[in-house]
């Protein structure tokens, strides 16, 4: 036995000694910044990128037909250019004789790269103090030298020296004239435009007569790394290098072949053929164009004009090229340069685009990176530019650069009032934007009739459209696995690379957008509560067989018509709640719950206030509300009706539960998860600790000041503000409004504790004050802070408010001792306090806080209600709806709470809405008619918010402070995001670009991930990338 134990022990030891191979990935890339892609055959000859990837492997034995996608990645730490064979899935070691990966050594700090259209050569701009230049890397030398050939090093490349630091670089094509002889110097003037000919060969390979020199074997001599742009495929014409020179604000034009012809290893001055000084011209008075929903006569909405033109020298940054235009970001001046590049040698600057900010019109907005989209089938083109210094992080501006577009300012999108957290003219997420690109992606549908694939097909949801057409084939399938859906990118999309490694997808022109909507149609030109309008179809539903329900939807039946919006972030999910998909549209986790303070928990359930759902007005106003995974509907006739009638008795649910409607107008306005509270006389600015009470010497008014808080920003409604609300929103006359304001104005609740009994303060007060109070006197008047319910003597109503102070008066008439004089004696230090709503309810979203429309206005910074359309949905105050008392005792329309105790058996409890007070001037109706009818004045008290719609009916017992309804929502908007951080949390993304051929997005990471390729089908990194 012992032997076995030893044997086992020995085995265990042996197992512990066994070799374990540890595989550590060798990271060869460091400080990666820029990338270019090119196509190369096995001979080392470049091809236009459109030739790649090589889809025909049968001819790969022929070297000229074995094509590979190569990526060149600048290495700013080692001053190299890394070579990656993307097709082979490997990093290329160009120096196998040395341990580790060897790359192409170039000058210090490679800043930018560009490749010729035919892939013959790549040019690298380098920027080191006193050693600025451009290096030319022939595609023929992007691999390890063969045996016997010299190693590749700094002297292997043709290069030239620049007198100032280069920025971006681009290879552009100068169209060769049909008849060069008609040009001065035969097209070989200072800026050569003539077509390539023999004279463009490297001079050291020609004899004095211009004939090729021959080697010993009689063959024309050749460079070790040949690069002849005469054979560069792609557009005809001379290849020119356009280099930005940020320090002097110019562009320089160089002839690419001339540079390639420099003797390798030399560093002569670059032969610059032309300079183009950039201009900074900001016309005065240029204003952003506002969409209809932001156009306003509101005086507080400043005209969004460009800032006063500053004397700023241009400092060109990122390039974006499209057809015959070159767009250049400027990191010093508030312009984006636009150049006509029809002729590179004769480039001219067109009127610039004018970056500016709607919310900060005085800020000088500069840009670092730009991207321009291809032309959409609808003839639109957009430019995205990064506002690098926006707060809290860099954001993206959208410019319409479609042919014929005249607006030079950032696009202000419609629908912004429904997205209060969004800047109307910016695309922004939680992290800063680093780079942008566009992807135009089309997935053709085969026309069943002709068998031909059709590109650019827009999904057609019209049930009357002929079947078996490509546009109909694009419709979503019932299981959402094919056709229109969030995961199918078909059209034009923007991609914003964020500094946290995420890549957000932006809808620019989604070909399937028309099929991403509810089935309900709205033929009216006025948008309905789903955001739908102007539908042109025969029936009322986007369904096949709508006349024989259930029909087959031709659309996704998402909850809103705004699920796909041009130039807004794309949703990662269908905005749908159903058994197949799950809960992806805004829905309630459970029915709202009412929680009462301890003092009121004894009240009967039927005496309490009710929170009830309210459908939208009109015959099609009913809608589903998902609670958990169960669909309810506001229609009383539905199978699962939501309670809407305060006296409804159709079921236990209708009698007892609370409910709200989640308006589907703008899905993006919902947080992914949210907790909502609705509190009677709720506190909306937190527990404040720095209030100071004082009496104004001039007016004798008592004011509260708090240097840590702007009362207007907090959303204070004084009596006058509340009166204004009543007049404007509830339609009351001035007298009624004043009465309403006095009844519902906010108040300050002092929560300050008294000094301790042993505190010397009390003795000092006794000695100094002619009418001193003891601590017990104070407790008698104001109640101790640890009392379960603080007495109303601590409440002081706000009669007027400015940003810095509140004017107060005691709220309780009953306690004559509750004066300011006594308050100051009892609370000698800084005041702790809460701001509370007066006799109404406060709605708070955990995701958004307290929504209000108060701003500081005028010279005295008075708190007033804003007229800014962006504040349209800034609502957070809810007023109870009560029932008017009947004069006819036989037909009571409400019953006072105190009658509850005498409830007769004949009382059916059908009148549960509390009575209005005699002086109540608003939110009163006759409850015997059911829910508040839309045509009655009390309907104005239905709360119709961006994310909540309900009516709050008063209970037969008066509401008590801190009674709270609570509900939770889920299914809010989640943007479609790819993430580099899924591979490594420590990333430092540098640049992004779209690869048309494999339809992938390439991201360069400066930290550890090198080059990563993302699939546009799976939205994840494609193996074998990342290459590092």
């Amino acid at each position: 036995m012992l032997g076995r134990v030893f044997a086992l022990f020995g085995l265990a030891l042996l197992a512990g000694c066994s070799d374990q191979s540890v595989v550590a990935a060798l990271r060869s890339l460091s400080g990666s910044e820029d990338v270019v892609f090119l196509c190369r055959d096995e001979r080392g000859v470049g091809h236009p990128y459109s030739d790649c990837p090589d889809r025909d492997v049968n001819d790969d034995t022929i070297k000229s037909r074995h094509l590979s996608v190569m990526a060149l990645v600048s290495q700013t730490v080692t001053d190299e250019v890394a070579v990656i064979n993307v097709s082979a899935g490997s990093v290329v070691d160009v120096d196998p004789s040395t341990p580790g990966y060897g790359f192409l050594r170039v000058g210090a700090r490679p800043t930018s790269m560009a490749v010729t259209p035919g892939g013959t050569a790549t040019f690298v701009a380098t920027a080191d103090v006193g050693r600025n230049g451009i290096f030319a890397l022939p595609t023929s030398c992007l691999s390890a030298p063969a045996a016997g050939e010299p190693q590749l090093d700094l002297t292997s490349w043709a290069a030239c020296r620049l007198d100032e630091t280069p920025g971006e670089i681009s290879v552009m094509v100068e169209p060769a004239p049909d008849d060069p002889s008609s040009l001065a110097d035969g097209g070989r003037g200072p800026c050569v435009v003539a077509a390539y000919d023999l004279s463009d060969a490297p001079p050291d390979l020609l004899d004095k007569d211009g004939n090729p020199l021959l080697d010993a074997a009689g063959n024309p001599k050749a460079r070790a790394c040949p690069a002849d742009l005469r054979t560069d495929r792609g557009p005809k014409g001379r290849r020119k290098l356009v280099v930005s020179l940020p320090d002097s604000g110019r562009l320089a034009v160089l002839d690419a072949q001339t540079l390639l012809n420099q003797a390798p290893g030399t560093f002569p001055s670059c032969g610059i053929e032309a300079f183009l000084p950039l201009q900074v011209d900001v016309p005065a008075g240029v204003a952003q164009t506002l969409p209809a929903d932001l156009s306003s006569t509101c005086s507080e909405v400043a005209a969004p004009t460009a800032p006063v033109p500053a004397k700023r020298a241009p400092q060109p940054a990122g390039f974006a090229v499209s057809d015959d235009r070159l767009y250049i970001a400027d990191q010093a001046a508030p312009v984006i340069h636009v150049l006509d590049t029809t002729s590179v040698c004769g480039m001219t600057e067109l009127p610039s685009l004018l970056p500016m900010s709607l919310r900060e019109p005085q800020r000088v907005v500069t840009t670092r990176r730009v991207a321009v989209s291809p032309l959409t089938p609808a003839g639109q083109r957009f430019l995205y530019a990064i506002d690098a210094e926006d707060q809290p992080g860099a954001s993206v501006m959208v410019f319409d650069v479609s042919p014929g577009a005249t607006d030079k300012t950032p696009l202000v999108r419609s629908g912004s009032p429904e997205l209060p957290a969004e800047k109307p003219d910016r695309l922004a997420l939680a992290a800063s934007a680093k780079d942008v690109t566009f992807a135009y992606r089309d997935i053709p549908y085969v026309d069943p009739a002709t068998g031909a694939a059709q590109f650019g097909v827009r999904c057609d949801p019209d049930p009357a459209a002929p079947l078996n057409t490509p546009a109909v084939l694009a419709r979503p399938s019932s299981d959402f696995l094919s056709g229109a859906r969030p995961g199918l990118l078909r059209g034009l999309f923007g991609f914003i690379l964020l500094t946290n490694g995420s890549i957000a997808v932006v809808d620019v022109d989604d070909f399937d957008a028309d099929c991403r909507r509810p089935v309900e149609a709205n033929k009216s030109a006025v948008p309905d509560f789903r955001g739908c309008f102007g539908d042109k179809l025969k029936g009322d539903l986007f369904e096949l067989g709508a006349d024989k329900p259930p029909g087959i939807p031709t659309v996704t039946d998402e909850v809103s018509c705004r699920v796909v919006e041009p130039n807004r972030f794309r949703s990662s999910t269908l905005t749908v709640n159903n058994a197949t998909i799950g809960v992806h549209a805004p829905s309630l986790r459970s029915f709202p719950q009412l929680t009462l303070p301890a003092s009121a928990v004894a009240s009967a359930i039927e005496d309490r206030p009710r929170l009830l759902a309210v459908p939208f007005e009109g015959p099609a106003g009913d809608l589903d509300v998902f609670i958990g995974s169960t669909a309810y509907n506001t229609s009383p006739s539905s199978g699962n009706p939501l309670p809407t009638d305060p006296n409804g008795q159709g079921s236990d649910q209708l009698q007892s539960l609370q409910a709200v409607v989640l308006p589907p107008l703008e899905p993006r306005s919902y947080a992914a998860d949210d907790t909502v509270t609705l509190t009677y006389e709720g506190s909306y600015a937190g527990d404040r600790t720095a209030g100071f009470l004082r009496v104004e010497p001039d007016s004798d008014l008592t004011v509260l000041e708090d240097p840590s808080l702007s009362f207007c920003d907090a959303g204070v409604y004084s009596a006058s503000t509340m009166a204004d609300y009543a007049e404007q929103e509830l339609g009351l006359n001035k007298n009624e409004a004043a009465s309403f304001g006095a009844a519902h104005a906010d108040y300050v609740q002092l929560t300050t504790p008294f000094p301790d009994e042993t505190d010397s303060y009390w003795a000092a007060l006794k000695a100094q004050d002619p009418a001193p109070l003891s601590r017990s006197d104070c407790v008698a008047i104001f109640g101790d802070i640890d009392a379960e319910t603080l007495p109303t003597s601590r409440d002081f109503q706000i009669t007027s408010a400015t940003a810095s102070q509140l004017v107060l008066e005691p709220r309780s008439d009953a306690d004559a001792q509750a004066t300011f004089e006594n308050a100051k004696k009892c609370f000698p230090a800084a005041q702790q306090y809460r701001l509370r709503a007066g006799a109404h309810w406060v709605l708070l979203h955990s995701a958004f806080g307290f929504r209000h429309d108060v701003i500081a206005s005028g010279a005295d910074s008075a708190c007033t209600r804003s007229c800014n359309p962006l504040k349209k949905w800034s609502r957070g105050r809810v007023f109870e709806i009560s029932s008017q008392a009947s004069n006819d005792a036989k037909k009571p329309t409400c019953r006072a709470a105190d009658a509850a105790g005498t409830q007769a058996a004949s009382d059916p409890l059908s009148l549960r809405v509390g009575c209005a007070a005699k002086d109540e001037v608003a939110c009163v109706y006759d409850q015997t008619v059911g829910p508040v009818p839309f045509d009655q004045p009390a309907a104005k008290c239905i709360f119709n918010g961006l994310n909540d719609r309900f009516a709050l009916y008063r209970g037969r017992v008066s509401s008590v402070r801190d009674a709270v309804f609570t509900w939770q929502t889920t299914g809010g908007f989640r943007p479609l995001v790819m993430s580099l951080a899924a591979i490594s949390s420590v990333v430092s993304p540098q640049s992004i670009q779209f690869l048309q051929a494999p339809e992938q997005v390439a991201v360069v990471d400066g930290s550890s991930q090198g080059l990563s390729l993302f699939s546009l089908d799976t939205f994840s990194v494609v193996s074998p990338s990342p290459f590092y």
């Binding site: 400080g31 910044e33 800043t111 400092q315 990191q331 670092r368 992080g393 490694g501 930290s1007």
Partner: protein
Amino acid sequence: MRRLLKLIIPCVFLSGCFGPGEGVEVPQDQIYFPVGLALDKGARHLFVVSSDFDLQYNGGAVQSYDLNKLHEVLPRLCAVDADCAADDSTKRTAARTIDGDAPYCSPSSGVCTITPTKDDPDPTPCQQGDRAGADRLLFPGRCNPIDPVPLSASSVKIGAFATDAILRERPADAAAFGDPERLFVPVRGDSTLHWLDIDTEGGLSCGQANNGGACDDAHRAGEKASENTRGIVLNPEPFAIDANESGQTIVVTNQTTGTASLFVNDWVSQDGPKLKFALASANIPALPVGIAAVPPSEADKLSARQQHPPQDPNDTFLMTFRNAAQVRLVSFAPDALSSPDRGFLVDGGGVGIDANSVGTDSRGLAVDASVRQRAEVACQGDSACLSAAALIPLDVYVANRAPSSLLIGRTRPPLQYPYFFQTLALTTGPSRVVVGQVQTPSGESETRVFVVCFDSRRIFVYDPQRSRIETEILTGRGPHAVAVDEERKLLYVGHFTDSYIGVYSLDLASPATYGTLLGTLGTPKAPRSSK
């Protein structure tokens, strides 16, 4: 290296390792694991704080070196031959001369040299001669090390494990009360703030005359609970330090307790700085390792002076942390109206660093007010102009390690919280960031940001005006403390690992030498266990 760590680690956790009179006497003429550099007014002297990191000696040291003498023995930079003419005023020679051969400006190296001959095809520009080729593998630079002893102006012994150094000029209203400048050095070994007065000749004074060459108790603040009314001593592991412009308010971070310790410096009496308060809060992350004062605007100073009685403007500081992606603001509350006044620090809250994917492990921190200060100078005292200038944001730079990057941000006047709008990828181990001025060939001063990457032996030079990294300086091992000498267009770099000061060129008029090592002050010594 393991042996070195074994030596070091126990003492890292052992406060009070330093005890005067115990162990091997620290050689005060040696630079030994330098951690702090500072220049006096006019850059006449360089002050080097040696930390004795491996505890070979019984303490650290502070040395003062005459920079004029140092400049004389450096290779001479040039753009044209005329720059290499003998300069009698400084008695500098460009290089060794042979038989009266006039030195000329070598275009390839940008330094003065003599004409190559057949026998001497590569004449050295080094007065100390060329360094042996083998040595160049570990230690950069062509020239042999410069002996620091002849350049030494003064030296004094301090506690072990100093971490940093700042120097402040005595305010004009206290000029009559002592030496013109004062150096403050946090010391981890005995958890104190050492303070040393500096005379015009670079002499250091901290009571060492009667204390065996070491700073006496009176010059080691934070050690005794009796020096303040709160009965507190300095928390363990004092690390980063900064002070307001006048040097009256000093804040030291304690890198393991998450506290910010306040010292109030008295220029009038001989008491020096005294520990007043330690700010700790559950809201403050545990590992603060960076601190920078936020200079008040001239408008704020004016406003404070106009109060009755005249006040000082509020001093505020930004802090960064190893374990949190945030920058936190603390403010000094002087408590002047109380009796006794017990100044304290107020936690002003923090802002998240969301410009990086992770954003934690922020080491260096620097605030640059030069743009606003230039605007204020142009105002010539006009209060309206100064009020407008006060709204010019300050640039804020953070060396962040997750990922290795330089975070570029700005304050949001009138708020002093920064936001970060740009991140530049760097190599491994960014540890410090320092803002300095360089001179352009046209003689204008321009701001540069120097980001030290300890692990990867590099210093990145960022040009904020052109928003780009201008160059990378390849250093020796363990670059840490740096000081910018605008006057001489030099950068002094304390090489922690090999215990010497590298002198690098910052002369933009000589692009060939920009960022290269001109001289080595002190003989490089590899750590004992790594030999």
